[in-house]
Structures are given as structure tokens and as C-alpha cells.
Amino acid sequence: MSRIQESVIIRTVVRIMVPFIELFALYVIIHGAGGPGGGFQGGVIFGAAIILYAMIYGIAEGKKRVSDALDRILASTGLTIYAGTGLLCILFGGMFLQYGAVPLIPDDPAKVSKYLIDLVEIGIGTTVAAVMISLFFDVSPPESEEGELPDYEGAD
């Protein structure tokens, strides 16, 4: 293992921080309709939490938690949620993503719109997080036999 990866301080801090970063990401996704934030930013933050874990505990350990197959399933599930919500609106006679057309709560289309926006944000967040994680796994250097990142040798 490289010097950074076997540091007790960094390993402990990462282990404690990752759940809180993920909680913050979920907060950003859910509050995207009413304030700053949204599916894209929340998804990026969620992906960053997993990437942080994979950087410190090794790419192999990260791939054990979020495998390539799970990545692919999550990315396509998010896209399906997003497109499905849009097509649901067409099914009930509205335009694509015209939430008010869905008669979920008959006398309050504004409320339906609020819930469906949250659903769309969750779909976007799932896809973005999965794609960010798989981007990092694709770009990260191949494992040497001990399962570590090779040391950077660029600086003079």
C-alpha cells in the first residue's frame, strides 16, 4: 500500500465522513425543487463519496462494494425513472414531463407536480452517481499485485 493509503488518520476520517457525505447528497437531491441543488449536484456528491472510499481503501475494495454490473443497473434504472415519469405524463394526455396532467391527486395538480419533480430528481441523481463512479473506475490506473495506486512520479 502507498503511504497515504495506510495512514490510520486518513482511513478513520474517510470511514467516518463517507456516510455523512452520502446523507448530504440525499439532502441536496430531495431539496432540489425548492432551493439550490438538484439531481445532478446531489448525484455528483454521492459519486464523490464512493470515489473517496475507493481512493483510500483501494480500487478493488471499491469495486467489491459497487461492481460494474451494479453501476450499469443503477445508471439505466435512473434513466428509466426519468423517462418513465415523462412518458407517464404523455400517457395521461399531457406533454412530456407536464406533471399536472397525471391525476394522482384529483383536485390538486400542484401537489402531483411537486412529488413527480422529486421522482425525476431521484432518477437523475441515481444515473449521475453511477456514471461518475464508473468514470472513475475506468480512468483509474490498473491494479498492481498488492491492489494499490502506483506512486505519482511527475514532480521534480
Binding site: I45, P141, Y152
Partner: protein, 81 residues
């Protein structure tokens, strides 16, 4: 709008941009670029565009830096030109 803060931020933005393209060591260039993104995020928030500033901080200063460094680990890490 606080114009003194604006001018200071934009000055540091230009310094970071010029430093990022003129430095030879690519790891340093990536870190300076992430500093550029952080200053840009503050500028966006200062211009009352919190959503864009949020995206800049998460994507520009966060994910992009990580992806660049992961790419650097597979390459030589020095610019020839």
C-alpha cells in the same frame, strides 16, 4: 454586489488561469485549475447564482480534479510544450 470583492476574485481568477496553462508540471496545473474552479464558485454565489455556484464547486473543484489526477497517474505527468 460588493465590487471590491468582485475585482479581487476576478484578479485571482485571471492569475489562476494564466498559471494553469503556463506551468510545466501537470499535477500542479490540475490543482491550480481546481483552485480556479473554487474561486469561480465564489464568484457565481456572489452574483446571486447559487445553483450554478453549487454545480461549479461539486463538478469543477471536486470530480474533475479527481478524474484528472487519476488520469495523470497513468501518464508521465510533465508537459513537453
Amino acid at each position: 454586489m460588493i465590487w471590491v470583492l468582485d475585482i479581487t476574485m476576478l484578479f485571482f481568477l485571471v492569475v489562476c488561469a494564466i498559471a494553469a496553462i503556463s506551468i510545466k508540471d501537470l499535477l500542479s496545473a490540475v490543482i491550480i485549475l481546481s483552485g480556479y474552479s473554487l474561486i469561480m464558485a465564489v464568484v457565481w454565489v456572489e452574483m446571486h447564482s447559487v445553483d450554478v455556484g453549487f454545480t461549479e464547486a461539486a463538478v469543477g473543484a471536486g470530480i474533475t480534479t479527481v478524474l484528472f489526477i487519476a488520469t495523470l497517474a497513468r501518464t508521465e505527468g510533465r508537459s513537453e510544450d
